[in-house]
């Protein structure tokens, strides 16, 4: 098993521009330090129609009400501000930004556990005698004898047969080569919604870890 940078077609070049936008990094910074409820706030605002911060502050009284402590409120305000910036980019761009933010957040959380040098982006995984997948994995952890591959989705609806097959194929090929490869799908959505989506799927998922919004912090602490 070996890793390789993905070749960039036109679409990938455009998306790379989104990934490199400073807004993506700032959003990932804010979300990496956020708690579950603040991440739900981000999900709502980045999905939302209103760009009025007072509307969202009123919708999340536990985060912005008088009972919120100063540190938590500061985190919530940072999440709200950056989420509104994403929403303000317009419907066409925001879906790309949201995807890039989930990827960057995943990379940052993983880096806390394995160090930034081991975390790579947009990589293909090659196996002897196996035709390589066209689509790269969003995030990989590449260490000798200890590799991980992640795809990232904004919502549970993104859990589809294609991505589940791709992740499971890589896992199976790694087993064939007697190499360790953990595969996971990171979904910035509730566990309940992910479970519903998975229940409808006939694609293989037993060997794929689903990392939902509630369990994101496990990327930084648990292999």
């Amino acid at each position: 098993m070996r890793f390789q940078d993905a070749a960039r077609d036109g679409r990938a070049v455009v998306y790379a521009g989104i990934q490199a936008d400073p807004l993506v990094a700032r959003a990932a910074d804010a979300l990496a330090d956020a708690a579950r409820d603040e991440r739900i706030l981000a999900r709502a605002v980045m999905n939302g129609g209103s760009t009025d911060p007072t509307h969202w502050m009123a919708m999340f009284p536990a985060l912005f009400g008088p009972a919120a402590d100063a540190a938590a409120r500061a985190r919530s305000e940072a999440v709200l501000a950056v989420s509104l910036e994403v929403a303000d980019r317009g419907d066409a761009a925001r879906s790309q930004f949201r995807g890039a933010i989930v990827e960057e957040l995943t990379a940052r959380l993983l880096a806390r556990r394995v160090g930034p040098a081991a975390v790579r982006r947009e990589r293909r995984i090659l196996f002897d005698g196996v035709r390589a997948e066209i689509h790269p994995y969003d995030v990989t952890v590449e260490r000798d004898g200890d590799a991980e591959a992640y795809d990232c989705k904004w919502g549970a609806r993104g859990i589809g047969a294609d991505v589940l097959h791709q992740l499971d194929d890589a896992r199976v090929h790694a087993v064939d080569e007697e190499t360790a490869l953990r595969v996971a799908l990171v979904v910035f959505d509730a566990e309940r919604s992910c479970a519903v989506r998975l229940a409808r799927s006939t694609a293989p998922s037993a060997g794929t870890t689903i990392v939902a919004l509630e369990t994101l912090d496990g990327l930084a602490t648990v292999r």
């Binding site: 409820d37 509307h55 999340f60 009284p61 309940r192 919604s193 229940a199």
Partner: protein, 103 residues
């Protein structure tokens, strides 16, 4: 916004579920996702109904009533079925958080 005085958990969840049902109808415009929408809606409706069953007679603070009313307003303006499907997951989470419940 509605007045929160005397509003119960059961009443706000009843309003939320009515808005949620209308949101599901918007999402159903995506034919391929019809079954997913039914399952997703049922899963979250069950969760909200469980909260109503456990805390239904409890009175909510006006700020919570306002929070849920704002969430209802937010989804009430959605016309795009793709956004509606996204909010079929998001709206119950926001509602449950407002009520101090785990999603």
């Amino acid at each position: 916004m509605t007045q929160g005085i005397g509003i119960t958990v059961e009443a706000v969840i009843e309003r939320a579920l009515a808005a949620y049902a209308a949101l599901a109808e918007v999402g159903e415009e995506i034919d391929d996702e019809w079954s997913y929408i039914q399952d997703l809606s049922e899963a979250w409706r069950d969760r909200l109904e469980a909260v109503a069953a456990a805390r239904g007679s409890e009175t909510v603070d006006p700020s919570i009533d306002d929070a849920i009313e704002r969430a209802i307003d937010e989804i009430g303006g959605i016309e795009d079925p793709h956004r509606a499907i996204d909010w079929l997951s998001t709206f119950p989470q926001v509602t449950l958080l407002a009520l101090g419940e785990r999603p």
